[in-house]
Amino acid sequence: MDKVQLLLSLSIALFAIGLLGVIVRRNLLVMLMCMELMLNGVNLSLVTFAHQMGQAVGAVLVFLIFVVATAEIAVAIPIVLLLVKRKHSLDIGAYNDLKG
């Protein structure tokens, strides 16, 4: 396997682990972490493709995504905090109020 295939396999693995984590785990914080894993898996593939095509734009875009991801977490963590304050639980099952 050459370097590119290796990196892409790693990125798929990260994404799959993240997705499985979101589906399987019930802890809110762990689910958030798994989402970050998925994001970084995608980021890795982006950087790999950019390297392969010799385009600096891809690498720069990755930094942009980092910033957006940070902002996203900065919003998500307080939401989780507020939820916990309300029901004293990190279990996702406690929050299924939004059903039709």
Binding site: V22, I23, V24, R26, I92, Y95, N96, K99
Partner: protein, 625 residues
């Protein structure tokens, strides 16, 4: 802008000023603007007519702008002044200005003073558009506009539902006629390819164009004319239109607007001269209307309603003249009628003013000494409409009788007989009105009698001017003046010798009516009262106005209401429209209820569905890749 444009536009300016700012400007300013601009318009019109006559009879055309160009054909806003429109313009602006001046006195205490003058000026604007328009299209704009102004002014005191309803009735009845007018216009355009009326006349003078019937156009146009000029069967709106203020009745429903139909026929005489059948229809409807309205006028007790039926009757006379080809004579009667009927209506207004708003002639009497100027002018005009020589009505009515009998274009003895009977009835009911109003013992309350007073100078002055015109207007022979453009029909050879005797018959009819009225209504109307029981059924039929309103209600009104309520409301509106919309709304609501079950609130399920979607998309793209 040329002089003709100014004649038309000045009243519009008055409408804008008084309509937009009248309430803040004060009554004096409103009066100056409201009367000043029409008078100015009259002066310019007089100047233009003088210039027209000095320059021979070449019509003066003034194009303001091109409205639309379709293909190679242009529709222009153009004004056209020839001898016919000159006569009409002078009447409209002249009598119109006098009535404006009268209104300053009559409407003095009305709180909507500015609105009244704004509407009057608006009416003048549209009326001038109507008589000066070169194209039938411009005429039609004016035609609809005067209908609008008439609607606004009949319903001027719109707080009273009855008066508002009278305005609606006038408007709707006119719309029925307008449909005929529009169809006639389409046919004219189809036949000649232009709507300029001088060109249409010229085209028809060279022979009726192929593929079109002059009589069909004529009948359609006459349907329009009979709506505007209150001829059978569209006459029902005019008596109700008396709900408006009296100057409005004088200006719109006697002197100018209602004669627009006669003007239309005279203006398009080129078509009617080739439309023998249509002309017969015009003459027949005219003479029947004249007779019918005169009989109804015999028993009316409201002073304004007597005059309203008299107007319908006189309009019938005008159409009779137009129908036998004597267009100049019809216009002659338009002019003399404008003078004496305006004077009569304004006189009636002065009487109503003096009687503190009372309109019932059974409660009047003995007013001759108390309001002498009103009485004198009213008496002169009554004599004029009755056809006593040498007043104006005598000349025009005599010529109508003469051509109704003698014209080689449809004149016949039975037209003469009906017209003569009508002339006799006219003299009778007009003198009856004069008698009951001004002579005999007073029949009003003490309270009203105490308040009787002569009207202010702004009103009586106008009455005097109009009475002079009504007396002397006949000496200016309009048929002769119009002969270069509207030649009079040939006289049938066997009728030639009848001219002299007919003159005496005409005088006899007027005098006979006077004597009959004096006989029946002199001595406190004792003979008329004694006669009444033996004619009870006839009297009932006449005071019921032949029950035509009731007939329309039964034949048109009630079926329409039934169809609207049972079919359009219940089936159409409630069942089809409401039902389908309610059904759609319910469907959306139930569907949304079902679909919302998908929203389980379980985050893991959502994430799993996302995974399934991604996998599915991947497989799909791999298969079809």
């Amino acid at each position: 802008m040329g002089a003709l444009t100014w004649i038309v536009v000045l009243p519009l300016i008055g409408f804008l000023v008084n309509g937009l700012a009248g309430n803040t400007l004060g009554k004096r300013f409103v009066s100056v603007v409201g009367c000043g601009l029409p008078i100015l318009s009259f002066l310019i019109a007089a100047g233009s007519v003088a210039a027209l006559l000095a320059g021979g009879s070449t019509p003066r055309i003034e194009t303001v702008f091109t409205w639309a160009v379709i293909g190679g054909r242009a529709f222009e806003i153009a004004f056209y002044l020839d001898r016919l429109s000159a006569v009409m313009v002078l009447i409209v602006t002249g009598v119109g200005s006098l009535i404006h001046v009268y209104s300053t006195g009559y409407m003095h205490d009305d709180e909507s003073y500015a609105r009244f003058f704004a509407y009057l000026n608006l009416f003048l604007f549209f009326m001038l558009l109507l008589v000066l328009g070169r194209s039938a299209l411009v005429l039609f704009v004016g035609w609809e506009g005067v209908g609008l102004a008439s609607y606004l002014l009949i319903g001027f005191w719109f707080e009273d539902p009855e008066k508002a309803a009278a305005g609606k009735k006038a408007f709707i009845t006119n719309r029925i006629g307008d449909a005929g007018f529009l169809l006639g216009m389409f046919l004219m355009y189809y036949a000649v390819g232009t709507l300029d009326m001088d060109r249409i006349n010229a085209a028809f003078a060279a022979g009726v164009p192929a593929g079109v019937s002059a009589s069909l156009i004529g009948v359609l146009l006459f349907i329009g004319a009979s709506g505007k000029s209150a001829q059978i069967p569209l006459h029902v709106w005019l008596p109700d239109a008396m709900a408006g203020p009296t100057p409005v009745s004088a200006l719109i429903h006697a002197a100018t607007m209602v004669t627009a139909g006669v003007y239309l026929v005279a203006r398009l005489s080129g078509i009617f001269a080739h439309a023998e059948f249509a002309s017969q229809v015009v003459a027949t409807v005219g003479v029947l209307t004249a007779f019918f309205a005169a009989t109804v006028a015999l028993v009316q007790t409201d002073i304004k309603r007597v005059l309203a039926y008299s107007t319908i009757s006189q309009l019938g006379f005008m159409f009779l003249a137009a129908g036998v080809g004597a267009y100049g004579v019809a216009v002659f009667h338009v002019v003399t009628h404008a003078f004496f009927k305006a004077c009569l209506f304004l006189g009636a207004g002065s009487v109503i003013h003096a009687m503190s708003g009372e309109q019932d002639i059974r409660k009047m009497g003995a007013l001759a000494k108390k309001i002498p100027i009103t009485f004198a002018t009213f008496a002169v005009s009554t004599a004029a409409i009755a056809g006593l020589p040498p007043l104006s009505g005598f000349f025009s009515k005599d010529e109508i009788l003469w051509f109704a009998y003698g014209s080689s274009f449809g004149g016949s003895p039975w037209l003469l007989i009906l017209a003569s009977a009508t002339a006799l009835l006219t003299a009778f009911y007009m003198f009856r009105l004069l008698w009951l109003t001004f002579f005999g013992p007073p029949r009003m309350d003490e309270e009203v009698a105490h308040h009787i007073h002569e009207s202010p100078w702004s009103m009586t002055g106008v009455l005097i001017v109009l009475a002079l015109l009504a007396a002397l207007g006949g000496f200016f022979s309009i048929p002769h003046f119009l002969e270069p453009m509207l030649p009079l029909p040939q006289i049938r050879p066997e009728a030639q010798s009848f001219h002299g005797p007919l003159l005496w018959i005409a005088i006899g009819l007027g005098v006979g009516g006077l004597l009959l009225a004096a006989y029946f209504y002199g001595n406190n109307a004792a003979r008329a009262t004694r006669l009444k029981p033996s004619f009870e059924p006839v009297h009932k039929l006449l005071s019921g106005k032949y029950y035509i309103d009731e007939l329309y209600e039964a034949v048109l009104g009630r079926p329409l209401t039934w169809i609207s309520e049972k079919i359009f409301l219940r089936i159409g509106d409630k069942f089809l429209i409401d039902g389908s919309l309610d059904g759609l709304a319910a469907l959306a609501q139930r569907g949304a209820g079902r679909l919302s079950k998908l929203q389980t609130g379980n985050l893991h399920l959502y994430a799993f569905l996302v995974l399934a979607g991604i996998v599915g998309a991947l497989i799909w793209s791999w298969r079809n890749g």
